[in-house]
C-alpha cells in the first residue's frame, strides 16, 4: 500500500521538486519554499501529501516545522521489485536445472 502512494505522490513534478529539496538534509517549510515557483501554502500542501505517502517526516523545532526525507517510503518500491525478482529467478532456476538434467540423462 505504502508505495502505491509513493508513486502517486512523486508523479507531480512540483511535488517531486519539493521532495528533492530535502535530499541535502532537513529543512523548514520557509526555506523549502524559497526560490520555488509556487506559494508557501502550496509547498505546505505538497509536504502534507508527501508525508501521507510516507516519503517525508516532520518535527517541531520551536515555532517551525522541519521536514526530512523518510527513507522507508522509497524503500517499499525497491522491496517490491526485489521480491518480484527473487520469486521469478527461482522459477527460472528450477526450469533451467530441469532442462540440464534432462540433457544429461540423454547422454
Amino acid at each position: 500500500m505504502a508505495y502505491q502512494n509513493a508513486f502517486a505522490a512523486l508523479s507531480d513534478p512540483t511535488r517531486r521538486a519539493v521532495f528533492e529539496r530535502l535530499i541535502d538534509g532537513s529543512q523548514p517549510v520557509g526555506r523549502i519554499a524559497r526560490g520555488m515557483p509556487v506559494s508557501r501554502p502550496a509547498v505546505s500542501q505538497h509536504l502534507k501529501v508527501l508525508k501521507e505517502a510516507g516519503l517525508v517526516t516532520d518535527r517541531a523545532e520551536g515555532t517551525r516545522r522541519v521536514y526530512s526525507i523518510d527513507p522507508r517510503g522509497l524503500g517499499a518500491l525497491r522491496r517490491y521489485l526485489d521480491q518480484f525478482w527473487e520469486n521469478t529467478l527461482e522459477a527460472f532456476a528450477a526450469e533451467v536445472e530441469k532442462d540440464a538434467a534432462r540433457e544429461e540423462a540423454k547422454e
Binding site: Q4, F7, R16, L89, A91, V96, E97
Partner: protein, 157 residues
C-alpha cells in the same frame, strides 16, 4: 547543481546447476517456460514471453488469444555472457514507451554450474509516470493486486 532521486538497484544472484550457454538460452528463448503468468501487460491470459535474440530485438508477451503487448526490448545481446533488457513497465504493470529502466543479467561459469547475476536499475524512474501511477493506487490490477499474487506465491498457495 541538480540532484535527483535515486534508488539503489535491485541486485540478485543465484547459482544454477547448468552450463553457461544453457542458462542463457533458457533465460532468453525459454522465457515463456518460467515467466510468472500473473505478471504480464496482456489483457488476455498469458501464453508466452518472447525475447527476440538480437540487439534491438523486441521483448513482448503473447496471450492465449494471440494478442501481443510490449514489455521492452534488447539493449545488449552478448550470448552466453550478458544480456541487458529495457523494461518499460510502469507502476500499473503497463507499457510506457518513454520509461527506461534496465535489467542486466550476467552469466558467469562456476565449474559445471553458472552464477546468474541480475540487476534491475533506474527503478526510481517508475515514479515519474504521471496519470497511470496515480490511477494505479485504486486499480485492482495495480500494485495491490500484484502484491496479493506475491503473497500467494510466497505463502505457497
Amino acid at each position: 547543481m541538480t540532484k535527483t532521486i535515486t534508488l539503489a538497484p535491485v541486485r540478485k544472484s543465484l547459482t544454477v546447476k547448468a552450463p553457461q550457454a544453457k542458462a542463457f538460452e533458457v533465460f532468453t528463448t525459454g522465457m515463456s517456460r518460467w515467466w510468472p503468468a500473473t505478471h504480464t501487460t496482456l489483457k488476455a491470459p498469458f501464453k508466452e514471453s518472447i525475447v527476440e535474440p538480437r540487439e534491438g530485438g523486441r521483448w513482448y508477451h503473447v496471450g492465449t488469444d494471440g494478442s501481443t503487448s510490449e514489455t521492452g526490448h534488447v539493449r545488449v545481446w552478448d550470448p552466453p555472457r550478458r544480456l541487458v533488457l529495457v523494461w518499460r513497465l510502469n507502476a500499473k504493470w503497463e507499457y510506457e514507451p518513454d520509461l527506461d529502466t534496465e535489467v542486466e543479467v550476467r552469466f558467469v561459469p562456476d565449474g559445471a554450474a553458472t552464477k546468474v547475476e541480475l540487476e534491475h536499475r533506474y527503478i526510481e524512474r517508475m515514479g515519474e509516470s504521471g496519470e497511470t501511477a496515480r490511477s494505479a493506487v485504486d486499480s485492482p490490477n495495480g500494485w495491490s493486486g500484484i502484491l496479493e499474487e506475491f503473497r500467494k506465491l510466497v505463502d505457497g498457495v
